[in-house]
Amino acid sequence: MPTKDEVFEKIQTALVDALGVDDEDVTPDATLVGDLGAESIDFLDIVFRLEKSFEIKIPRGELFPEDVLTNADYIQDGRVTDVGVEELRKRMPFANLDDFAKNPVVQDFGSLLTVADMCRFVEGKVEVTD
């Protein structure tokens, strides 16, 4: 059973390998897209590495539910609707969407996921000790 520190270290390794960033760039507050330069294919790469590292299965679209952002029911004029934001909260309980919800511009969505969110995501999948 990994500790929270071990979860962070494994995620750091996955991000360094997938994104070609340095260890010190991967801080809990760093955003995947804005600070670490992740593109859509990188999210798949990261998911592959997390699956291997933690020996877990992560359904595609669970970490980064892109399908919500391409669904006309949830998007209007480049913004996520209230129903869309609710759907994102449901699908991403590990992420803090409060700031995004105040001005939910679709293009900004990619910038909100942080390394700490990813740690919470993994902690929801594996048993973790303190």
């Binding site: 593109e39 294919i41 798949l44 790469d45 592959f48 590495r49 291997k52």
Partner: protein
């Protein structure tokens, strides 16, 4: 020995162009999974003929239309080999017929094997190749995609689809150092082209091929393994015609 220490999967590997690709890969040191729809004994016999080559061949029976089988097979090989360096999608069929007489089954069979099979194996190797930041996929297209014959709407559509898949996937995977290309053979002496060669006559065909000969599976295999090898390290998203100049047209 461009493929020493490398691993490869070749679909349709027991016959025709696929078999020539396997022969070239194994002659240059690769470990090759020879995947084919035919009975395992047939593949094993083909593999036995190449047993003196420096590489190694492992035959598998599979229907390339079966996506689960593709994933299972690729994962098994990845667990065992820890890398998949090369995929050559050579499994292909023809079910010719004029549109007015073509059955839906003829359409589905050709699209399913030629395009669906290519998708299934590309899909299965994407993850291991992305993880390794290295890989080369070569799909078998055909000059028939751009210069179609009558009675081949299914075949031409499937190979046109392969071209689109090749170019799109090349863009997707380029940042992962995974290259995706295709070879487009013209008139090649294989079982698949026997009917056309018989119908038109080889003498007539040679008149319209600038290099004045029917191509051999080895001609295509040389081009395919060039694209698969590090010799083509800066080539991706290309459709390389291997047709003796047939598609040049003119006089």
């Amino acid at each position: 020995m461009r493929f020493e220490g490398k691993t490869a999967i070749v679909t349709g590997g027991s016959n025709g162009i696929g078999r020539a690709c396997v022969a070239r890969l194994v002659a240059e040191g690769a470990r090759v999974a020879m995947v084919d729809f035919c009975d395992l004994e047939v593949s094993q016999a083909a593999a036995d003929e190449m047993k003196d080559a420096p590489g190694e061949i492992v035959p598998f029976q599979a229907d390339v239309r079966d996506a689960d089988r593709a994933t299972e097979l690729v994962n098994q090989l990845f667990d065992q080999w820890e890398r998949i360096d090369v995929l050559i999608n050579s499994a292909g069929i023809v079910r010719d017929g004029l549109m007015a007489a073509m059955t839906q089954q003829q359409w589905l069979d050709v699209i399913g094997v030629n395009l669906g099979g290519t998708y299934n194996y590309c899909h299965a190797v994407t993850q291991p190749m992305m993880m390794n930041r290295s890989g080369s996929i070569v799909n078998l297209s055909s000059t028939g995609a751009e210069f179609p014959s009558r009675g081949q709407v299914n075949y031409a559509a499937s190979k046109g689809g392969v071209n689109g898949l090749t170019r799109s996937l090349a863009k997707e995977l380029a940042s992962r150092n995974v290259r995706v290309n295709a070879v487009a053979p013209g008139m090649i002496e294989t079982g698949m082209s026997a009917a056309v060669r018989g119908m038109v006559g080889e003498k007539e065909l040679k008149k319209i091929i600038p290099l004045r000969r029917i191509g051999q599976p080895e001609d295509v295999a040389q081009a395919a393994t060039f694209l698969a090898s590090d010799d083509a390290s800066y080539v991706t998203g290309q459709i390389l015609r291997v047709d003796g100049g047939l598609s040049l047209g003119g006089y």
